[in-house]
């Protein structure tokens, strides 16, 4: 999504849209504090507030990785197309 190079292919492609969604999802989840500002249900004694946010660490890592692979695949396809 950050790579709007000069070639003539469309800027918005399905894989870019998916990559963008992957990158936006953590913002929605983390900034909506009301969705997790509570103690119950607890997990091995840890209040929801804490384990939910910590669960988002691996989730967002997976999402960012997905975006990385999508962007890289597309970049390689473009490079193959002969752009300098």
């Amino acid at each position: 999504m950050s790579d709007t190079s000069t070639d003539r292919r469309p800027v918005v492609t399905p894989s870019r849209v998916v990559a963008a969604l992957c990158l936006i999802a953590p913002f929605v989840a983390m900034l909506w504090v009301g969705s997790y500002g509570k103690v119950e249900p607890t997990l091995i004694g840890i209040p929801f507030f804490y384990w939910y946010q910590m669960a988002w660490v691996p989730i967002s890592a997976v999402l960012t990785s997905t975006a990385y692979f999508l962007v890289r695949r597309e970049q390689r396809a473009r490079k193959g197309g002969g752009s300098a």
Partner: protein
């Protein structure tokens, strides 16, 4: 709490400290290039670091000793509110995924060492570049000072440095020695020293956290007990405010503050010069993108570390200075030798970022003040010399700051630094994507953000302080409590946009943009991308 010196812990601490000192000096020879007399070499490690070194370097750089002490300390004092560090570090990575690779490309194409270099090249404005450079230096200085506060906390708990009645020289001697050594090897080895030491630091930290998060809950009777006790303690009334001390989960009233603090801090993190130094030292765009997918491991560690704050409450650790809560918890819970390992982890954790921060501040001074304004004809060798000297000065300044002023002053300035550095976001990240913003508008927005942020932070009172009592205040027009830095940033953007419309309508002269669209996506191997000096030791004489 100073019940004598903890000999075993101290011996272990000194052992690790000596080991990293030797490493620091040897680092100069690691991946050395033929000609070490330019700023790329000393200040960016030859721009040759791959995925793993960059990961350790960034981790060592962003998750500092102060973080390790301050995040659990905030939890210890207020409960849930202190946990914002976790969503903050979650948001950082998807955010930098979008713009750091562009910065890497344009910097490698044009040989930029600092963000100010980029801003000057993009907007053709030395004034804007100077504003970014000064903001960076101002925000970094107290950050370095706080690393010293982290070391001090550890030394205090070990019983070194004595009580109030010792004379100042004996009291501060260990800190002076630690910093003298740090200054010496940064001077001789540049960015290579912290990169190598970061390995040791992170290994120690990961071991300590893994042990702490399993061993301490077992000793305290499990997380159920820990949170029950902590919840009870936080519900107690704070005698100074007449309100509960904190809460276990963010209630309705504190959610805006929580979210804006997380977002504002995430936006600010990669505006800090030391984050950029570590980024630009990597070998390729790919290295950066790959790092955004593996750096979250540190966030997980930070989350676990934050929970130690609750354990300190549950374990009945009582300290006046919240900064000492975690070192004291380690001392109470661990056998002496392992407490020594934990203290070494925090101590070394202070040295790595302090080294990188002083290098970053020195680069800013050399490139954007010395070369742009004082000596435009400086040679690369002169630049390196000035940078090395300034890195020493910066450290001495931070030391003087910590030794002569109250600790709260450093913390206040750090708080302000976070607000200030965020105001460089529109020029830098905006500039990476568009040339639409007018350079003078960016300068205007920056000034408004800086002034608003400073005044608002000055006006926040807390039970213990009249000014700079916290980083949150009422958001004008919304009425909720929010992070001042974020409010200032929003104002900054609004002013920048409005002024850009006005200046464009008036046809105010636009600076020369020396970059072109393809510079922002260039990668290693593309024509014109300044070849990172040969990776590993290919270019070194004698082939070591």
């Amino acid at each position: 709490m100073n019940d004598g010196v903890n000999g075993v812990a101290l011996a272990v601490f000194i052992f690790f400290f000596l080991a990293v000192t030797v490493m620091g000096f040897l680092a100069a020879r690691w991946r050395a290039a033929e000609n070490a007399d330019n700023l790329d070499e000393w200040g960016l490690g030859g721009r040759s670091f791959g995925t793993w070194i960059t990961w350790f370097l960034l981790g060592g750089d962003l998750y500092t000793a102060y973080t390790f002490v301050a995040v659990p300390a905030a939890i210890y004092a207020t409960g849930a509110a202190g946990f914002f560090a976790v969503p903050y570090t979650i948001l950082v990575y998807p955010l930098i995924f979008t713009f750091l690779p562009r910065l890497w490309s344009v910097s490698h194409k044009h040989g930029y060492v600092t963000t100010s270099d980029f801003v000057r090249g993009r907007f053709g404005s030395k004034g804007l570049s100077l504003a970014v450079a000064i903001t960076g230096i101002l925000a970094t200085m107290p950050y370095i000072a706080l690393q010293l506060v982290g070391i001090q906390a550890v030394l205090d708990v070990m019983g070194v440095g004595g009580g109030e009645d010792t004379n100042w020289f004996i009291k501060d001697l260990p800190l002076l020695i630690a910093f003298g050594v740090l200054a010496a090897y940064t001077y001789s080895s540049g960015l290579r020293a912290p990169a190598l030491i970061a390995f040791v630091k992170d290994t120690l930290i990961y071991i300590v956290i893994a042990v702490a998060i399993i061993y301490i809950p077992i000793k305290l009777g499990g997380f159920d007990d820990i949170f029950a006790k902590a919840g009870h303690a936080l519900a107690q009334e704070n005698p100074a405010t007449g309100k509960p001390k904190g809460e276990l989960a963010s209630g309705d009233k504190s959610q805006w503050a929580y979210a804006t603090l997380a977002l504002g801090s995430a936006l600010a993190l990669f505006m800090y010069p030391h984050s950029i130094t570590a980024t630009l030292s990597s070998r390729s765009r790919e290295v950066i993108r790959r790092n955004t997918t593996i750096l979250p491991l540190y966030s997980l560690m930070l989350g676990l570390l934050a929970l130690l704050g609750f354990m300190a409450i549950a374990a009945g650790v009582k300290v006046d200075n919240g900064q000492l809560a975690i070192p004291q918890l380690f001392e109470n819970m661990f056998p002496d030798w392992f407490a020594g390992v934990a203290f070494a982890a925090i101590g070394i954790g202070a040295l790595v970022p302090a080294a990188i921060m002083s290098i970053a501040a020195a680069n800013l001074f050399t490139r954007n003040i010395y070369k742009d304004f004082l000596r435009p004809d400086a040679t690369p060798a002169q630049e390196t010399k000035v940078s090395k000297l300034v890195s020493l000065l910066v450290k001495v300044g931070a030391l003087a700051f910590v030794l002569t002023m109250d600790k709260t002053v450093a913390i206040n300035f750090q708080l302000l630094g976070g607000i200030w550095i965020l105001q460089t976001f529109p020029a830098m990240v905006g500039g990476l994507f568009t040339r639409w913003f007018h350079r003078w508008a960016l300068l205007g927005g920056w000034a408004v953000g800086m002034v608003y942020g400073t005044v608002a932070a000055y006006g926040v009172a807390s039970p213990t302080q009249k000014h700079f009592g916290g980083s949150s205040d009422e958001i004008p027009g919304i009425g909720e409590i929010g992070y001042i830095g974020f409010t200032a940033f929003t104002l900054n953007v609004v002013v920048t946009v409005v002024l850009t419309f006005v200046l464009r309508a008036l046809k105010a002269p636009d600076g020369v943009d020396e970059t072109s669209a393809s510079d922002y996506t260039a990668d290693v191997g593309d024509p014109g991308v300044q070849a990172d000096l040969p990776p590993a030791t290919a270019g070194a004489p004698g082939g070591h």
